[in-house]
Subunit: 297 residues, 4 copies
């Protein structure tokens, strides 16, 4: 298929089940809310070696947040519910409770499966914490040096989808990268998805296990490495000198698909982009297969 | 002591020994280098529940970096050398190797105690990695989807100082916060120090252990909580309604002291700031005592 | 009236008729679109001495822009239609045509009153320009060093409203300023309004003419200057030490009123804010009177 | 000459005399200082149709500024001393006086040629202004709604150099642009120079006058337009599809040369860059000729 003159390969990405939580961080202003959100979603690109996958979902209008202040929502994904719960406690406790003027509310209110984040963090109040209510939500107000930190009693845990992805191939590194940045920007404030890698972009795709170093869980995906295209059996076209991957985690398969579609459309508008593809493991690993052509039916 | 009309308490902060590493991240431009640096230094405010304490030290001129590109240096601190080493591997592997156009070099070249970060990460190359040299440094070039990731073979591990701090007390929350932001900005690009908390600022100081909830390692420092000043034995002056803490980790005691001095000077220039103090545990815990008055001798 | 515990004075602001244009700047990504938008809307706080009043209205999704790229909309206001037209030519010609990857489209397509911006700028093409069509809009493609600059043939000119405003009074400068920042953030991406001053905030309100220096068009509004509250007949309450003004220009009175309401709500959430008011000239100058109490009916 | 594998043409740029002023804007923090600086340096790319050429020079440490706060320096250039003086008054008056917590000091103290900016702006105080001294500098404190605006009595006017430039040619638009961004970043905080165009980059170089439209002062430089390379007598190499120009204004020829050298070095590090050149008018217009080869002697 050709899209804006760019060849879109007839292939699919594999995606996986993962538990997801959504934290609404509010603060005096967007700058402060973002500071807490970035601290909270750092060191969270891939569960290969990070404790969780996380990222900023979007900026919320003052009218959308429980306490009527500036808001930023962060989503966290992990296939293990226990690990996700632990990370909620640790990251809200270390990165939001400590952040100037920040409060933390649940962003998945309708989920029945709930975890009592605030009810655990309140012990930091050492007996001085008080139950309170914000916009009808049960919260805890914990006395701190700046005043009070307000955190919701419990947070919803939903079943989401992780690992949706798009490959962007360019004639030059800068072209592939500019297209990747355009792709990430095109879903910057989209509801329901995050792109957990640095700036939303993966520079180093991996394959499962190792060919030579068999003791590793993941190693470089040499078939997609432009510098090796004349050395190994390669998937890199002759005119391609760099490939970037956008990894997308979402609340549902529908969210991930919609985001992939937007990313591909945006990427094909940048000159020097020659091919769009996606990453899969031959269909053996992921529960979900997302075919690129279906996105444009 | 009065400084710019603000009362500086005659007290001290306690500081601690910690191992430190410094990673120079380079990229096409500052924006991309910062993206990698922020991902790498997230979820790293305090080792109470974070795996490491980290932050951006400063932006390096193109002429200062081994590969002549835009640079950002990140420092990581941990009292356990093993934990620090593990975090170096995990954070460079997950947050820099994956980041667009980023390379990683050692920022403590003169340290004799070295840890072979690049020599471990190179296995991601699955046999396709190659030894290379950048500005005379032994490095590894690992083939990736974008091209090659270059990482230095080994990184210096030094003995640094963690936990230096300043308390800023204001008539209003906004005054104390504005002063805290000014304090952090005053050391923004200073060589040798980081402020690991969100935006460099701590909203929620803690005491060791718990009064009521004795099972906790750390709980709120109620003596410094303005909302409790009429409830508990309090250190909060009558006219103070918010307190922020700046925590400073540095390469040496001298670096930490110099940064504390700058922070205090900057904070006292903001209107509505009424007192500067510092946090200690009665002198029982920290190896180092830094007296505020000595900073202005 | 009390709002979130803050006194809102029963007064009104005066607002004025002004012509308005809206430019949609598109680019590879939001960062580049914003660079052009900021260059275009600089030196544009007040027509007292600036050639126009301008500001960023909002960020547009890729799906909202004519060429499917990242978009930022800028609005320009001037009571003189001629001056507005001239500024459109100069600012698009100097700040958007020159900006990397930027194009410029009309954001007021339904206006019948139109000005042929692109049809004038195309002469820069020196005969090499070509008529083209983007999403059904008549445009010109002008060859440049980077490739082509695309600009719409004509732009709508509407009748808007300028000078809507809110005064925020705080116990400390930092409190009033934090509230002003929160106010501006609360309408950051709102459709139909801009706040033309630096960061959206006015630090120095003015009165018409001069008391002592009668040769000036505008001088400081001493009745609202906290440092003069014991020197002149003052409107500054005893507990107020700083006042900031938010000036709002909008597509219609309704837009301005809606924005004022949001600003006031956001400002009253910041501690240390004690009073909200508005600026008027006794009702003698402005065509429109906007009563604060009406905003909350 | 080959530099990092990129061909640097043996040519020169022409540069011109221009008067220059340097304004040190200080504020509570860097964010606020930058807000004022950007407002002040907007609509200031080229005196072809802008009233002045301006840009941010660098960020100053707290210890470098007269009032010990965060500082940003802005430089303004104009061949007419009168025009420069008028712009100083208008831009400080409309963009810095109005900006939250901002003050304005002279950044060219040693210049004997001085213009009494503050002494003119003080009339805004309407008789309530007071002479004051900051770090030994004669200043005026003008009462405003936020408190007081402090502005230095007079500012130095120096003879600088405008129009230094570098052309960056790339295989793809994204490569040329990435290299241009790297070039600008490489002199981001360099003392003595600014890059007045949007983001420091020119997308649309111009020639003097017009070929077809002879009534224009400047039109597109068709010989450097990639889309016209098969239509006109072209300077665009076969493998070049985009060209960006970096225009550099500086305090002296030495400053401009040093900046050009850094820009070229940084640009040649980006893949897909194939040639570096510079813009001149056959040596007929500019007082100064800067040969690229001399930069690397």
């Amino acid at each position: 298929m050709l899209l804006n003159g760019v060849y879109v390969e007839d292939t699919f990405c594999e995606a996986f089940d993962a538990y997801v939580a959504r934290v609404i961080i509010t603060a005096y202003n967007y700058c402060l809310a973002e500071v807490a959100a970035k601290e909270m979603s750092g060191f969270a690109t891939s569960i290969i070696m990070c404790p969780v996958e996380a990222g900023i979902e979007r900026f919320l209008d003052y009218g959308e947040t429980p306490d009527g202040r500036a808001g930023v929502s962060v989503m966290l994904f992990h296939p293990s519910k226990k690990s996700l719960q632990r990370q909620l406690i640790e990251r809200i406790g270390q990165c939001v409770l400590t952040a100037p003027t920040a409060n933390a509310f649940d962003g998945l209110e309708k989920e029945e499966d709930r975890f009592d984040v605030g009810n655990k963090l309140r012990y930091f109040g050492d007996g001085y914490e008080k139950e309170t209510s914000v916009a009808g939500r049960k919260c805890w107000a914990i006395p701190t040096m700046e005043g009070e930190f307000v955190v919701e009693n419990d947070f919803g845990i939903a079943k989401g989808v992780a690992g949706g992805n798009v490959f962007i191939m360019g004639e030059t590194q800068a072209s592939a990268l500019s297209a990747a940045i355009a792709a990430v920007d095109s879903i910057k404030n989209m509801e329901g998805v995050i792109t957990p890698f640095p700036g939303g972009i993966v520079a180093s795709g991996s394959k499962i296990g190792g060919r030579k170093y068999t003791f590793l869980k993941a190693t470089t995906n040499e078939r997609y490495s432009p510098v090796l295209k004349n050395t190994v059996e390669s998937e890199v076209p002759d005119n391609v000198n760099a490939i970037y991957e956008i990894v997308i985690n979402g609340l549902s398969l529908k969210h991930v698909k919609s985001a992939m579609r937007k990313c591909i459309l945006a990427a094909t508008k940048v000159d020097g982009v020659v091919k769009i593809s996606a990453g899969n493991y031959g269909g053996k690993l992921g529960k979900y297969k997302i075919y690129l052509r279906e996105l444009f039916d």
